[in-house]
Symmetry: C2
Subunit: 597 residues, 2 copies
Amino acid sequence: MRRSIATVCVSGTLDDKLTAAAAAGFDGIELFENDLVVSPRSPDEIRTRCADLGLSIDLYQPFRDFEAVPPAQLRANLERAERKFDVMAALGVDTVLVCSSVSPDAVDDDELAASQLSMLADRAAGRGMRIAYEALAWGRHVSTWDHSWRIVQRADHPALGLCLDSFHVLSRSAELDGIADITPGKIFFLQLADAPNLSMDVLQWSRHHRLFPGQGAFDLPRFVDLVLAAGYDGPLSLEVFNDVFRQSDPARTAVDAMRSLIALEDRLSVRGLPSAPQLAGLSFTEFAVDGRSGPSLRVALRGLGFTHTGQHRTKPVELWEQAACRVVLNSAVTEPGAAAINAFAITSEDPQRSLRRAEALLAPAHPNVREPGEAELAAITAPDGTSVFITRPDDDWRSDFLPTGVPVAAGAGLLSTDHLGLAQPFDHFDEAGLFYHSVLDLDHLATGEYAAPFGLMRSRGVANPDRTVRLALTVALLRRGEWAPAVADPQHVAFRTGDIVATASALSLARLPVPDNYYADLAARFALPDDFVATLRRHGILYDRDSSGGELLHLYTPVLGGRVFFEIVERRGGYDLFGEANAPVRMAAQRHRRLSG
Amino acid sequence: MRRSIATVCVSGTLDDKLTAAAAAGFDGIELFENDLVVSPRSPDEIRTRCADLGLSIDLYQPFRDFEAVPPAQLRANLERAERKFDVMAALGVDTVLVCSSVSPDAVDDDELAASQLSMLADRAAGRGMRIAYEALAWGRHVSTWDHSWRIVQRADHPALGLCLDSFHVLSRSAELDGIADITPGKIFFLQLADAPNLSMDVLQWSRHHRLFPGQGAFDLPRFVDLVLAAGYDGPLSLEVFNDVFRQSDPARTAVDAMRSLIALEDRLSVRGLPSAPQLAGLSFTEFAVDGRSGPSLRVALRGLGFTHTGQHRTKPVELWEQAACRVVLNSAVTEPGAAAINAFAITSEDPQRSLRRAEALLAPAHPNVREPGEAELAAITAPDGTSVFITRPDDDWRSDFLPTGVPVAAGAGLLSTDHLGLAQPFDHFDEAGLFYHSVLDLDHLATGEYAAPFGLMRSRGVANPDRTVRLALTVALLRRGEWAPAVADPQHVAFRTGDIVATASALSLARLPVPDNYYADLAARFALPDDFVATLRRHGILYDRDSSGGELLHLYTPVLGGRVFFEIVERRGGYDLFGEANAPVRMAAQRHRRLSG
């Protein structure tokens, strides 16, 4: 199917937008009137520019408040329409979107709406054009897809059909099955947008918070399946109003948008991707270290019971291990601004297929990150710049390290890497969620917001089905400014233990102090036994319980080496979150420690 | 009256918040439970710290979902309350806020609610404490102030009274007059927040968009007057949930908060400020220039018909004039990052009283910005760092400039400075609005949002009653990141003409090109005569019309010297806006010019 993107989805002038859409591989655009109005290019020039870029103009939009109006208003509206048809003729676009009226002058009269739309369709047809009528979710009298379809049926004009927009349909939780029964050929256009579940005025929700497919909570595969069942064969066209995307690098946003369509087509089986291989765990986490951060991380790793087991054959890279927990310290990465977590590795049953899937989903991929004689190590680059290595189940990458011969420490009972906590760059939070969801086939867990000492935070978890790979993505709700304490957005690695009290007793490093006030409140909130709370308090362990009774016991280290810390977690009874409820306690304690240390 | 601030209003840990509140001069705080829970200080230590800082703890909050529950839940709630009373005793606070329940378990039964609240009040009274019951606007059964008052009356317990929160009361547009009839002594606490008018779910509106008094659209003076009429003599306490304030420098936010209370008290005549003198115009605008920007500004000023009339006696500062339009070019300011508009001057009928008012409102003031022998020139510093000079009606400041003897140019018909367009730093937009509103007694004009090529924008106009002083404040809806074109947020000076076509004909400088598409759309939108549109197009003049038929004709220069441009405006028939509708056209054209130039 052809893929289109509305110019409103991305930032910049029309030139910026067209360049970005073409570079990302789109076949066409929906041209928003505002983007045309502010452009110095004439409609003819825009047509030529689009053709040069390989872009068709699939829709001109929007034309508002047309139908079901008194006669004088109708005359003015038809006159206005003729002017827009002139522009469309010059642009070479044959379909115009007409949204259901929001005007207080509109009359609640389907017969009148149908007859006036029919008049408009007559004029359009005379110029080889057609009208796609769309029910806005906040339309004054017409706000559901089935109502707009009844009006189109009543008008019964070959140049009048429907535009279906997934946001307007799915935000109303309407009955959907009937979409498949729409007369073939009468869906003129399909607009796609996802959105998070929000309790919000629908217009505000639509204008500020739409997302690309796969980034939100809507069931777009089902919706598109129904539309395809009705015989629709036009473009899949993205129409996403999002405050962040409107302000971000359009080239990046357009790639994110294209990835969302590729992933959607994969789910629809419209276009097949290499299937996502099963993943089997987080095999290592790599930190870029220098002369300042290296020593403090080594001390912390020893205190956590890790042993420096290996030294890379050719590079200044150390391997530290404890059971299946592996940390790599890389002194060869010297770029300033490198992420605290420079890279991490995921075990795939078929690394090469994982890589082909990533490439098909426009993820920057590096098939051979190795020197001659070293294990093959494929990598892709995540939206925040972190390298994601894809390793084999036999962990052959470990053979690149020479044993140090250091006696293996007793350890502290750490078993494996439970999750990574990855603070995301502000512009790329939703992009990152879709990236991990589509490229690695990780499921979205809950998205949430919480109040923290330095402002509101948003979090989103992604994980594989058996939960051996979990990532907790976080971002500040507003881009941080000058007043952002150094500890506001650290990254971290969480290791799993089967017995956090035993682990805590075996640790020999400073852990983050937890306030007594926290334990007093905890006891009141969860009605916990006194001796249990006393144990938690003694070891600086935090506690959370989910709605089904699953429990998390966890503790943190202070921030180390500038921007990273470690966490130890014990999950009990199917707890599937990340202890976000305790993040504010951690953030305050990390700031206190920073100020007093 | 005593002034308090809820800890939730500002960013940081509890220590950050207390320090900020004390430094801004608050008498007390409302302590939010979350701030206590994450603090390493014990309640005793917090009490001592507050006492050391001169802060009382006026309220502990919140205690949620207490009343009108089944008996088993009641027992648990009372037990929970006893634990909170323990904390309150240690803190030395005697009033706890109990919000109306939002729990699905709550029963719609006023008698039950009253009797259970009475039981809670009994226990509180036994410990010398009292309960302030507040109707949340989204309470399950109790959501209006008069409903909460009926329950408190029914309970008739001396330790049970009301908490009134301006947001919860005014967001419901409830009947207010009855507030003055509440039994004296039964309003235990008063919380104040302003808010913009938004069509939004009330909970989202409350949690993200509250503002300090005078920054929003609520009539707080009337509300507080009614509360005072009911005999309330407790603190005026701010409780503002705002996403930006939660993330900004707490010291700055606390001063902004204190200014809002001082201004409110002035309006209530609770505490008198020096009255705001009448203002008579924008007397000059000063640009900081250097070797790069100076020459391009001089060329532009000549092209606009200005004459370099004066040279400062002692400093490298030039005066350029045309009728009452004055521009000062200052080569002595060399700080990097100086605002494009370094300073501007407003004529006051009593500069010294303006200054005293500013100081009373915590505006950084400089009484004597002058060398010996020069005119006295008082200045205050606006939230964005711009200096605001307060000049005398006789313009004695001009005597500091020696005449250049340059022949006076014919001019282009510019009469006076119409307005300044001041892009604000992200954290300080609402602070700036309140600053100009309170310090200079400028009225708030409309606040609006619009979509622009580089993201959504917010604008707010402020002006004096006769409109000789107008400022247009703008800010991006989200803080800008790396992808922000250099022209995204320029500042500008707009000069007024009585005949923009004559002025345009007299100009000898490049003006910003306006797209033909704009004129085609303009003709369709406003049904303008063809010859009128042709005239606008010939001169690159933009057009806007307000709902009452007032019209704005205006044109722009390109961005000059990095971050500034000029505008020429002709207002017809009472047009009172700033042509925001055309800002996207300007922004796109400025970017095209930048890319092609």
